[in-house]
Structure formats: structure tokens, C-alpha cells
Symmetry: C2
């Protein structure tokens, strides 16, 4: 291969003058865990890729490196088979790329696992008559069952739980709301391709009462007395749902205080993130 | 191809007798969302795969199907490039397989997103002297910083938060504990390959006091007065950590009640799952 043609991909290690070498290696960055990261960007013939990969791994082995992360954009799908044949395995994938990993030492690898949970919200929107916003879904598990349920939805990657709850109510019922607190959350397993699920029941305050339901997924939406919602056989039958309904009933009667969301800075990153806790008077965290 | 060689993979649709056909299709199951699921198991030549895939998609299109899920075990990596060239894209991957998707209609797809969150725990283990179990890590972000931190770890796929907290304390410090409650949780973003992170601070009760630290990742472990833990500059500097420290201090003084874990059945699945909520006396959920 011409090294000029791949100048953005290769690096030439500095070698002592008395050892004339010409080795093309994959361009890689190092991480804080003795690992190397390779992000392929330009098209490459798979045979050329294999020779660069072998030379690079040999070099990384000499340097005492351990894990190798190889990110292949979907446009470079022609390199996937070659990487797997060299001993790489899949770590995770997103629509636009596949991440593969390789462990250089002869020890058991300590490569961290992929994202393990999907996160969902259920919205408890109560108006000043003590009624709750409920919907009937067109499709899915609840489609055609006649069950009235709280609006629910999936929290997107990068989205705050309290923001997702507001978004879902707006999408499904056309109602603008304010986030009040998290009432409860549930962790369940094997919900979606073997992943676990965290479901947060959020209390929201409606800013007006007029429902404008979305037509694609929602068959019906209405305000319903909380007692009527809680009395549905489906809710009564499953202790998960009946506990949540009883928490909602207690909330209506001011017998329950939920979990507050407080913006904080720092911690794992420099960005603002929400801390959820019982912000009672005794605690006096917010002076 | 010989249809016998792939008898487990193909199905022959029943056709009217006056239209003699011989079409080999990929074996597929249907889901509740007008989708089809194909799980490839046996080795196959990629050209054979492409013709089967094209014939199958044509058939599914006639049936009004929408999404196609294609699961390729890593052993069948030779089929990945062919699938992408036919218009499939990556949905998710685990070490042993790659899941690809395809959308048949000309509309925008409604294929659900991949798992979006990693879940972690921090363990607040307080002994009866009002001391907290703290550790210093060897590597990673805190390695060599001298920061004393709560034991932390990643919740595995399929693992309950309350179980993960007990496991991590046992692994890092060799101490058996009982789960008491969740004190607080924090959601942060872009923590790991763009994924979001949910971190649960769990209070645990130690069953004995003798620390036996793990040597691979932990440089030191000890009991420390909570006030001393909270006074560390690192903790004071970041409001996320200082809030948590103040909650721990309030807990010591009985000025804080956390979030209880109650096993429930039903809901999204028939399995037992934990519901976390403020199980106060007023609520009277557990009679």
C-alpha cells in the first residue's frame, strides 16, 4: 500500500537511526486503563487492514497494552469479518457503528460491559379535581385490552427522567406539565433482548386540562377519578401496579411524599446532573 | 443450493396448485408489532444468504410486514457485510452476536432504541460507631489521588440494585452486609460511549467489622468517621458528592429516611421485581 494514501490512518514510530524500519501501524490513542482505541474512518481494503492490525497488535503487546477498542463505522462493514477472524469480538453497536474489542494479554479480560438497562417513565398527572390522566394504547401488549393506563414512554439516551416524563405527556395527550417528583421506581429484568429495565413513576402537574390526544399510538385519553383507575382488575391483579395505584391514592390524600429532583454539578462529569432524594424539612439541604 | 442442506432455515409457503413455485425463504417468526424476527444459526454462503434474504423481504413486504430483526451469531460474521449492503443497519451487539434491523415500508421507522443506561451503585456502609466504610482505588480516575470514596460498582444486566450493592462491598472489602434502603440516586449523561448513567447510593448494614480488602483494584480500605469522609476537598468541591455526604451525615443523626425496596410481582413480566418507594407509616402499604 502507499502510505500517502492513508496518511490520516497511520503513524510511523520514531526508531533509533541505526535500526532502519518502515512499519505502518493503525492510528491509535491510549486510555487510562492500559488500553488503545482505534477509530477507523477512511475506506480500506480488508487485506491491508489485516496486515496493519497484526503489526499494530504486535507493537501494542510490546508496549504492555491490554484491551484494544476498534470502532468501525457501518460504511466500513467490509472490515468486520477480518477483525473477528483476528480474534476481536463484539462489544456494542449503534445504528452508525460497531465497536469490537480484543484482549492482548493471556489473562481473563476486564473489559467493561455494555449498557445494561433501558429506562422508562410512567406519568401520574393529577388535576385539581383529584382526577388522573389515563390513556388506552392502540398496539403493543395493552392494545385492545380496554385497560386505562398512565402515559408511559422510554427515556432517551442523554435525556433526564424528569424531562422525559414531561415530553411523553405532551406527545401522548397534548398537555403541558410541570415535574413535581418521582413517586416510586421499579427494576425488572429480561424485558428487551435480555436487558434490564428501570421504570420511574413521575408525578406531574398539568398546566391546563384540555386533552389533545396523539392518534398514531393512543386510542383514547381522558381524566378519570383515581379510585376508578385503581379499581381496574388489571391494576388490582398485579402487586407492582396495585402498589403504584395505592401510592397515587395516598398522594391525592397528602399521605405520601415522593423523591425530589435537585440539579447538581460535578461528580462523574463536569456537567449538571439531577440528584433524586427525599428533600424533607429535617434534611435542610437546600438552605 | 440444496434445500435439504438448510432444512432448518427455510420454509416453503403453501401456493395454489395452479401456480407451481419453489421459493426458499429464511425461517422467521412474527412479533406483535408487524415485525419479523430472523435468527440465523447454521453457516451459510453469503451469496446464498443474499438471495434468500431478497426473496424473504419481498414476501414480507407483500404480507405488510414492517421491521425485520436479523440476529447473526459472531460465528456467522461472513453475513454481516451482505446484510448491510442489502440495507440493514446495526441495532445492538453483545459479545456473541450482532442484531441488525431493516424497515420495509417507505415510512420513517419506529424501531425501538437500544439499551441507553449503565447502572451503578455506591455503598454507604455505616457501623455502630457512626463510621463509614471507605476505599482508595488503584486505577481509573481516582487512582493515586488519595481520595477516600464509598465502594462503587456496576450493576450487572439482570441483577437487582440491592443485590449489586451487597456484592460490591463483599468483593471490595470482604464484608457481608444487609441491604437497608436507597438513600438517593443520580442520573448523568455521556458517561460511557455516549450512554447515560444511573447511580444509586445504597445504605447497607455490616454484619461484622473486619475488613479484608481485595488487592486487584483496591489500594486501601478502612472505617472512617463520616464527618472526616464528608470533609474531603474532593467531596466538598462537587455538589453531587457533597449532597450525598450530607445525606449520609443526616442518616447518621436519624434525620433522613431513604427509599425502601419491596418485592412485587407482575407488571411488565410475571417475574418478581423490586419496587422502590418511601414506605412511611402514613402510607400503610404493608399491613
Amino acid at each position: 500500500m502507499s502510505s500517502e494514501a492513508h496518511s490520516s490512518l497511520v503513524e510511523k514510530p520514531v526508531v533509533p537511526e541505526n535500526r532502519i524500519q518502515h512499519i505502518d501501524l493503525l492510528d491509535a490513542s491510549e486510555d487510562a486503563y492500559e488500553g488503545v482505541n482505534v477509530e477507523m474512518k477512511e475506506p480500506m481494503d480488508s487485506n491491508v487492514f489485516v496486515s496493519l492490525l497484526r503489526a499494530s497488535i504486535s507493537q501494542w503487546r510490546q508496549k504492555g497494552k491490554k484491551g484494544v477498542w476498534l470502532k468501525l463505522p457501518i460504511e466500513l462493514v467490509n472490515l468486520v469479518e477480518a477483525a473477528v477472524k483476528e480474534g476481536f469480538w463484539y462489544h456494542h453497536a449503534e445504528p452508525t457503528y460497531l465497536m469490537l474489542v480484543y484482549w492482548i494479554p493471556k489473562t481473563t479480560h476486564s473489559i467493561p460491559a455494555n449498557a445494561s438497562h433501558r429506562v422508562g417513565i410512567g406519568a401520574f398527572v393529577m388535576n385539581n379535581k383529584g382526577e388522573v390522566l389515563v390513556v388506552q394504547e392502540k398496539g403493543g401488549k395493552f392494545g385492545g385490552t380496554g385497560v386505562w393506563k398512565l402515559p408511559t414512554g422510554v427515556v432517551d439516551e442523554g435525556e433526564d427522567i424528569c424531562v422525559a416524563a414531561i415530553r411523553e405527556v405532551k406527545e401522548e395527550a397534548g398537555i403541558a406539565t410541570e415535574f413535581v417528583e418521582v413517586l416510586a421506581f421499579r427494576q425488572s429484568h429480561k424485558s428487551f433482548f435480555g436487558k434490564s429495565d428501570l421504570f420511574f413513576v413521575c408525578m406531574l402537574k398539568p398546566l391546563y386540562a384540555d386533552i389533545q390526544k396523539q392518534n398514531l399510538e393512543i386510542a383514547a385519553a381522558q381524566w378519570m377519578p383515581i379510585e376508578e383507575y385503581a379499581a381496574q382488575p388489571f391494576v388490582q391483579k398485579h402487586s407492582g401496579f396495585s402498589y403504584i395505584a395505592r401510592i397515587c391514592l395516598a398522594k391525592k390524600d397528602n399521605r405520601y411524599t415522593g423523591i425530589s429532583a435537585v440539579p447538581t454539578s460535578g461528580g462523574f462529569s463536569a456537567k449538571t446532573s439531577f440528584l433524586y432524594f427525599n428533600d424533607t424539612k429535617d434534611l435542610k439541604l437546600k438552605q
